[in-house]
């Protein structure tokens, strides 16, 4: 741990938290940094870090994945999807997304770009379409907004957290103001964080201090990248190309105004318009997960990954059962990779750590 992170930790420990506090993060990148830096082990005992809805792959509804697979199997198309961005620049000197290059390289062949992601990832898709793409490039959009899932938790009356660490790169695009409702409507302290342990510790310090002083506000602990109003150009492009619509979240259900859909002006590039027959209503099985898989509870921060009975037993990254163990952003996958091997499901019967 760097010098400044150690300093941050020292001041955080000096705060003396006198009651149990649960801090939720809603970003797979945050959860990854927390797990790798081992922040859970070094925080005061009564501070819990709860991973929440931070993995777009985990909440991508089954019917969308099914539609993409059916298109790939039955149509004469090339299907393109996002890979693991963190590794890409190191392992492969290619540009992502490659859908545009693919479409340009073979104009006679349809390329369908299956774009699942949160605001950070959906904005570049909007930019690509706004800039103009060849006729043979279609988008199968499964974009989601992050904050409505947090609003859903807060509105439920049992949010399961006392403070929020808001996602840094979602806020880079949309602006930190998107998270003001957490403080204004629910009186819960919030801080936008970057991805270094320093930045995360700064955000944790901020919300713990806010709780201690009973003075709640939205703190921007990633000001070098997160500017007021976000990236205005990116937001303009998002608005030009996409509508905000009600959307289905795997295992959770429909969340109002939580998804993106292409506007009519871009219908010619909308795979859902072109291949209407593939949208299968019967696959919209709200709330259903593979038998025994607790991904929905993990995504909503109701349990920790290792409190799922299948964690590490039937479900590992080599043989994943649920999406949270598949995606690099999934909490189960991150915890397993960070070395958590204990299955606490048995212990859970004796008393839950998370509400």
């Amino acid at each position: 741990m760097s010098h400044s992170a150690a300093e941050r930790l020292k001041s955080l420990r000096a705060l003396r938290v006198d009651r149990p506090v649960r801090i939720m993060n809603v970003c797979g990148g945050h959860e990854r940094s927390i797990s790798i830096a081992g922040l859970r082990a070094i925080l005061p005992d009564n501070v819990e870090l709860v991973p929440g809805p931070g993995c777009p792959v985990c909440i991508c509804p089954e019917e969308d994945v099914y539609e993409a697979i059916q298109l790939a199997l039955h149509e004469d198309i090339t299907l393109v999807a996002f890979g693991d961005m963190l590794r890409v620049p190191v392992n492969s000197p290619k540009r992502e997304p490659r859908s545009l290059e693919q479409a340009k390289a073979d104009p006679a062949r349809l390329v369908v770009f299956f774009a699942a992601g949160f605001e950070t990832t959906t904005a570049p898709v909007a930019a690509m379409l706004a800039e103009g793409v060849p006729d043979n490039l279609l988008v199968l959009l499964s974009g989601r907004l992050t904050w409505p899932a947090v609003a859903l938790l807060l509105d439920s009356g049992t949010p399961g957290f006392d403070a929020l660490i808001a996602p840094g790169h979602v806020s880079t695009i949309m602006g930190p103001e998107e998270w003001e409702f957490v403080v204004d409507k629910h009186d819960i302290p919030a801080a936008v964080a970057g991805f270094t342990p320093e930045s995360l510790l700064a955000a944790m310090y901020s919300v713990l201090r806010q709780l201690g002083e009973n003075r709640h506000f939205l703190d921007n602990c990633y000001p070098e990248v997160v500017r007021p109003g976000g990236n205005l150009e990116a937001r303009r492009q998002l608005d030009q190309v996409m509508n905000v619509v009600d959307a289905n979240w795997r295992g959770i259900g429909i969340i109002p105004k939580s998804g993106f859909a292409l506007r009519e002006a871009y219908a010619a590039h909308d795979a859902r318009e072109r291949f209407r027959s593939y949208a299968d209503e019967s696959r919209k099985r709200v709330g259903e997960m593979p038998p025994g898989c607790d991904c929905a509870k993990v995504v909503l921060g109701k349990i920790y990954p290792n409190q799922c009975r299948l964690y590490g037993a039937a479900c590992t990254p080599r043989k994943p059962i649920g999406p949270c163990m598949v995606s690099d952003e999934g909490a189960c996958r991150i915890w397993w990779s960070a070395g958590y091997r204990d299955n606490e499901w048995e212990g859970r019967k004796k008393g839950s750590a998370v509400g």
Binding site: S2, C27, G28, G29, R32, S33, S35, I36, A37, C55, P56, V57, F82, M85, L86, R87, P89, V90, P93, K94, R95, E96, P97, G117, F118, T120, T121, A123, P124, A127, M128, A130, E131, P167, G168, H169, V170, T172, I173, G194, F195, T196, P197, E198, E224, V225, R227, N231, L232, E233, A234, Q237, S327, D328, E329, I334, S337, A338
Partner: protein
């Protein structure tokens, strides 16, 4: 999936640029940063082939220190 990687611009051609990090070169779109004045040597935060924000050299270096740790942990 929302992680973004800081890279250094080595060449600009309209809304396209070439940038570099750790000896790897990539073509990146500057279409989302049309409002920023960018030149060779500037650092940008790159996500799925698009620059989403301009960053300082120091912030770029800090992020890379973290990525090195992540890659070493092979997660």
């Amino acid at each position: 999936m929302c992680l973004a990687v800081p890279m250094k611009i080595t060449n600009i051609d309209g809304f396209q640029c070439t940038c570099e990090a750790k000896g790897i070169e990539r073509e990146v779109s500057l279409f989302m940063l049309q409002h920023e004045k960018l030149e060779r040597g500037d650092h940008i935060l790159v996500h799925v082939g698009y620059a989403i924000q301009k960053v300082s050299e120091q912030d770029a270096a800090d992020s890379w220190a973290l990525f090195d740790e992540v890659l070493a942990a092979d997660i």
